[in-house]
Every structure is written in C-alpha cells, then in structure tokens.
C-alpha cells in the first residue's frame, strides 16, 4: 500500500508538488491565524517553512536543490524552477495599474543603479577586510553581493577561480534568503505599502527570488511592481559587473 503510494508520487512529480505545496500553505495559514493571531501572513510562514524544508533536504542528500533532491519531492524543482517563477511573475502583470507604474519609472531606474553599486561596494569592502587584494577576486565577491547570478557570470567573464565563484554564489544565495525572510519584518520601516515604494524596493533589493518572495510575504498586490523593476536587475548587474565595476576595482586596487 505504502509502496504503491510512493510509486504514484514518484511517477507524478509535478502533481505531487502541487498537492504538497498546497498542504504546506494550508498548515502555514492555520499557524499564522492561530499561533500569531494573524500578525504574520500565512505566505511568510509558508516561505520560511519552505526554506527550512530546503535545509533539511540539503542536509539529508548533500546536494544543491534543497528538498527537490529528495526523490519524492522532485516535482518541486519544476514547480519552483525559473520557468514557472518567471511565468507566474509575468502573469501578475495583469494586476498592474499602468498609471501607478508610470509614476515611478525613473525612480525604478535610480533604485536599479543604487541596488547594483551599493551591494557591490559592500561586497568588495568585506572581501578587502578579509585580506583579499586581487581585483578579480574582489570584483567577483562584490558581484555576488548583487545577485547569485551576477556573481558567477562576472567571475567567469574576468577569469576568477572556481572557489571564488563558489563564494560569490554563496554570497548571493545568502542575500536572497535574507531578503525573503526579513522583507516582511522591515516592511514598515521601509514604508513598503504602495506601488511606487515596491518599485524602489525591487530595484534596490535586486535579486528576483528574494524580491518576489519578500513582497509575496508582505502584500501580494505589491509583487508585480517590485518584480517589474527587479527583473532588470540581473541583466543590469551582468552588464556593469565585468565592465565598469571591474575597471573601477582594478583602478583602485590593481
């Protein structure tokens, strides 16, 4: 009986993932309503539960895709992969009010520039403080602080070694997870309660997975505005990283 159930789950990974995620969200909503008196949104709890499960999956299998590396939960990789993430993000555009978005186009761009340069400076600064002096290493770690895609792409373009690239990916992943968890916590401090603020947030916080999950946990109506800007973040970072930013680091430390 149990064997049959397991075979069914293994044969239908995506459908099993739908059922599993539904159960996680159901439990999280109950927890949010009864344990925190509705103060913490169910979706915020669900995302934390997801991260905790990902930790467990990684600890059990020793691989990189969290819970999806456990065979029974393999469907999560497809459901939570970049394709479905981006497809559903685009769908949220159907809820965008054009006038709201138009008001803050230039703000979004300003946020995008700051959101690339500031994390980069912090990353370079920390790497420098830990004794790194090689411009390639400094740039790669700085780029990792922008997003975990900008890091390795920049590193590969300027010829960083694989352990430095791994470090820059780790930096980006840590940042994405911090953004996911702490966006709802700091939402009030950031005045994250209107579409324009969400666009500023999307540009500055950058990392699409962090922004999308952070806004989802804060107020799902803000998601499309933040995502609209954040999706330009990785491309923008990959444009600046190996060019202007690398040259600047080389001029300073080279």
């Amino acid at each position: 009986m149990l064997h049959m159930l397991e075979k069914t789950v293994l044969d239908n990974p995506l459908v099993a993932a739908f059922a599993f995620v539904g159960a996680v969200i159901w439990v999280s909503n109950l927890l949010g309503r009864h344990l925190t008196g509705g103060r913490v949104a169910g979706s915020a709890i669900a995302i934390i539960v997801g991260l905790a499960l990902a930790y467990w999956g990684g600890a059990v299998t020793g691989k990189t895709k969290g819970l999806a590396d456990v065979a029974q939960f393999g469907g999560l990789a497809l459901m939570g992969g970049a394709m479905m993430r981006d497809f559903t993000i685009v769908a949220t555009a159907s809820e965008v009010h054009v006038d709201e978005a138009k008001k803050a186009g230039w703000l979004g761009f300003l946020a995008l520039v700051l959101g690339t340069v500031l994390p980069f400076i912090v990353g370079v600064g920390v790497a420098y403080a830990y004794g790194h002096r090689d411009p390639v290493t400094l740039t790669t770690i700085g780029a990792g602080a922008v997003t975990y895609i900008v890091g390795p792409i920049t590193g590969a373009a300027i010829g960083a070694s694989s352990d430095v690239i791994a470090l820059s990916i780790a930096t980006g992943v840590v940042k994405a997870i911090l953004v996911m968890i702490f966006t709802p916590v700091f939402a009030r401090f950031m005045r994250l309660n209107n579409p324009q603020a969400a666009m500023v947030f999307g540009g500055l916080a950058g990392t699409v997975s962090g922004v999308s999950a952070g806004l989802a946990a804060t107020d799902r109506r803000l998601v499309p505005y933040g995502a609209l800007v954040a999706t330009f973040h990785t491309g923008f970072g990959c444009l600046l990283g190996p060019s202007i930013l690398f040259l600047a680091v080389k001029a300073l430390f080279g």
Partner: protein, 146 residues
C-alpha cells in the same frame, strides 16, 4: 476560452525572453536583460489593447489570473528548492557581504520611500487585506487618504 488567456501569457513571456536575449547579445552580456520585465510590459499592452476592442472576455482573463494566483505557491516551492545549506554554512565573507548589502539597501529604500511619500510621488498606502482577499478588486477602489 481559458486557453486563449494562458496562450497570450505564454506568447508574451516567450517574446519578452527573446527580446531580453536579443538585447543581451547586442550589448555583449551573458545574461537575459530584463526579458521578464519586457514580457510584463507586453502583457499589460496586449491586455489593454484587447480589452478596448472587447476581445478579452472573462474566460480569457481567467487563463491569465489563474497563473497570477499561482505565484505564491510557486514561490513557496522555490523557497523549498533553495540551496539553504550552502547559505547557512558559508563563511563570514558571504554572510557579512550579504547582510551588509541588504542592510544598506534597506536604509536607502526607507530613505527614498520617505522622500517620495512626502513629495506625494507615492500613492496612498494600500488598505490592509486578509490572506484570501480577491486581488481583482484592489487599488481601483482603495480610498485616497492624502
């Protein structure tokens, strides 16, 4: 029919990603440049165009909104597939640069958002809602508190 909405969404997605790849190739970047953002703009434009001509019935809209509503479940699945181990076990460099980067961004976001709130560039705060609120009725009906 519902599939028309989903197909429209898919077409905008693919077109956006292709354009993003094109821009990337043009400026010599190895990542898609804003493909998803461009896809979002295409979808907004297409929907607007079809609505004005009465070619976007409720059924078609459902083919788009279903996927918009699936967004949070997809994000939960995404969270469950993150490499949390590497994040948790990364050394001080990764942790400090990530935390520092996020902290400084929070401060700037807070600063900018306070300024645009004062300058009335930002819209009024959205009304608080419950988890199972219907998003279709938002914003347009939110009263202006200014």
């Amino acid at each position: 029919m519902v599939i028309f909405g989903t197909a429209l969404l898919a077409a905008c997605y693919l077109a956006g990603v292709v354009i993003g790849e094109g821009i990337a190739a043009l400026i010599g970047v190895k990542a898609n440049v804003g493909g998803v953002g461009i896809a979002m703009l295409l979808l907004i434009a297409a929907q607007h165009y079809l609505q004005k001509r009465g070619m976007f019935p409720v059924d078609t809209a459902k083919g788009v909104t279903f996927w918009a509503m699936m967004y949070i479940p997809v994000v939960v699945a995404m969270a469950a597939t993150q490499n949390v181990i590497v994040a948790a076990r990364s050394g001080p460099i990764a942790l400090l640069s990530a935390a520092g980067a996020f902290a400084i961004c929070i401060v700037f976001i807070s600063l900018i958002n306070r300024v645009i709130e004062r300058a009335h560039i930002a819209s009024a705060a959205l009304e608080p809602v419950s988890d199972d609120h219907d998003p279709a009725s938002d914003l347009s009906v939110a009263p202006d508190h200014r």
